[in-house]
Symmetry: C2
Subunit: 99 residues, 2 copies
């Protein structure tokens, strides 16, 4: 099957956007790692439900305004937050182990 | 509970990154919508397994190089691709309905 030229051009854009997404996610997890260390050192809980619901509501609005499906956006941010909570729990456990 | 100033600063960065992620995702789905229209008009299949596996492998490498968990990255891109396939199937059905 030959790939139409227009499809190849769109795929190049998608690949560039994906590289940007990966790098933004890497930077986001660098920031949340710092949050995890800070929370562990102050014995703050890994989960902050009111912060989380605020993030979801804000990103649903941003998504709607930019033509992105709000339900997909919510599923995405909740997946990211779940990973962050796991990261924070690991950091807290390590902090407790080290004393 | 008072929020330490350092935590507030990190949360501001996270919120900025999240806004960037939402806008990049919106742009990505704009591109895949074009791909869906193109595929429907040429009767190309919604799913392209070899393209998908190439994307996953490339993004896992990019993730590892930027300090992001490759398994999380794979789960993320597969979630995005599953949404794109649903989008393409909707576009194909609409195209068929219109004749």
């Amino acid at each position: 099957m030959t790939i139409p030229e227009e499809l190849q051009g769109l795929r190049q854009s998608i690949d560039n956007i994906d590289a940007a997404l990966v790098h933004m996610l890497a930077e986001r997890f660098r920031a949340t790692r710092q949050v995890g260390i800070l929370k562990a050192s102050r014995s703050l809980p890994a989960v902050d439900r009111s912060r989380e619901e605020g993030q979801v509501a804000r990103l649903r609005q941003l998504a709607a305004a930019s033509g992105l499906d709000p339900d997909f956006t919510e599923a995405f941010i909740r997946m990211v937050i779940a990973e962050v909570v796991r990261q924070h729990e690991r950091i807290a456990a390590e902090h407790a182990r080290k004393g």
